[in-house]
Subunit: 293 residues, 2 copies
């Protein structure tokens, strides 16, 4: 077991509160005062989650979008955020991007902490607090055999955008990587319909595997049905690439989503806890997506 | 203006929501579902907030205590925490200390994020979520001329404890530094009584200055009245040392606190926004306490 896997296993032992959902969902869920809070905290580290030297305004935008995407996957509307910020170069640009992203989602900055800079891999954290618009709050664990498997938008855009940025294009060509947009409106609209929902920030196949395991079902995906935002020749890569922030969800057979989305597969009851790609079970050890390390 | 001051000024512009309290309080306050949420996020960085090489179990304990202390200062009971963790050496020890601290305060782990290690100054973050037990929630801004100024416990213990730890004592002699205890019970008991309350994590004089500025009043402190957990010869240092996690609060003249505490001064209306130590106004530029940097 890696250090990270061992640490997360230790955290699971501590996270016995039902609202923690076994640390196996996008967010924690907390009943409070007759309503339901939805809580998430994501970190980003220089060199892993963003490029060293990347425009700090884009880093701030992505930090907000990645957390709001977790709220979106639970159908929650944002109430506000707390920022944990390690000072570095471009702090004023970071503040600009943070302001733009928070304004985009209507999420106020409520508080946080600022600490000294890092000689090494600078770490940034954001906590997003939301209000569930539908209860029960959608989880990853609700996919049932026979459900349709759906996805919003298209995959591969962040992959193309990163390559464009690495080639010096810091404009429209790299926007999908630099300025991802969380599917907040879509998540809220879908919450009453879905049997399971999550975001696909770490890559479709890896995240689908998580849904399959949480649900005790198999997720069978038809790769040709997946809309792409990259050349068709790169389809296999796009299914394994992170940072697209689309929503993966399941609906009862015969139900159509209330927003634009694409049917990409079906939930099966054989081979529970696996992903079937074009009928073949995937090997989880084969690198299905982006494992944060 | 330092980079940090400029960044915090930019954050204040974004934090226009009333619940952010202008980023000038221990916590954010959010009305939700007919109750009141109390939210805080504190970070700790290796080499600044803890010693490189310090037992990770103690680091985890302090991370929890420092956040719970913020809840205590608002009279809030903890509902849970979200952890932002950067992997490093001693992850299993960190998990042990985290579990011990969360059990001590009855605060469940609800979620968070784990990211790769840092080559430099590792950063850890914790978000604590609490429920206000009394409304209005005590703020730093309520001190009024004529109020008594009070403090729980004694100061200087963390200073002595750090020195003991640096000398190799990782037992009882350094416990005040390694394993601070947030005044959660006291804060909840005091919340209905106080006109203002905050914790003194950055040193009494600096934190009293913050209360004076937030309240638009002067805080006059009688240094001889301050209980010490260190030799009397080090009184001046103890007033400027952080990490003691006591509560500083004000009560209407004639009111006695419901818990053990010491009266150390009086709120004045002359020289608003200053701290008077034994009758003399302090120079804020003279190093009143621990400024995180």
């Amino acid at each position: 077991m890696t250090n990270e896997a061992a640490f997360i296993a230790a955290m699971r032992v501590l996270a016995s509160h039902p609202g923690a959902r076994g640390l196996a969902d996008d967010c924690a869920i907390l009943e409070f005062g007759g309503e339901t809070l939805v809580l998430t905290h994501d970190m980003m580290v220089a060199g892993t989650h963003f490029l060293r030297g990347q425009d700090p305004a884009d880093v701030a935008w992505k930090l907000v979008a990645s957390n709001i995407s977790d709220l979106a996957a639970k159908g929650a509307e944002p109430l506000g955020v707390l920022l944990g910020y390690q000072l570095g170069s471009g702090d004023a640009r970071f503040a600009d991007g943070l302001g733009a992203a928070l304004a985009h989602y209507g999420a106020p900055l409520l508080g946080g902490d600022t600490v000294g800079g890092s000689g090494g891999r600078r770490a940034l954290g954001l906590t997003a607090i939301g209000r569930a618009t539908h209860r029960p709050v959608p989880s990853r664990a609700g996919a049932r055999a026979g459900d349709g498997v759906w996805i919003t938008g298209a995959l591969g855009g962040a992959m193309i955008g990163l390559e464009a940025l690495q080639s010096g294009d810091d404009g429209a060509g790299s926007a999908a990587y630099r300025r991802p947009v969380a599917r907040l409106v879509e998540g809220i609209a879908l919450a009453p319909q879905v049997t399971a929902m999550m975001d696909v920030s770490d890559g479709l196949l890896l995240d689908a595997l998580r849904m399959a395991r949480a649900s005790g079902a198999a997720i069978a995906i038809d790769s040709a049905a997946i809309p792409l935002a990259c050349p068709d020749s790169r389809r296999d890569e796009a299914l394994r690439w992170g940072d697209d922030y689309e929503l993966l969800f399941t609906l009862p057979e015969g139900t159509l989503p209330v927003i634009d989305a694409s049917r990409i597969g079906t939930v099966r009851d054989a081979l529970q806890g696996t992903v079937l790609l074009d009928g073949l079970p995937l090997d989880p050890a084969a690198g299905l997506g982006y494992e944060h390390g």
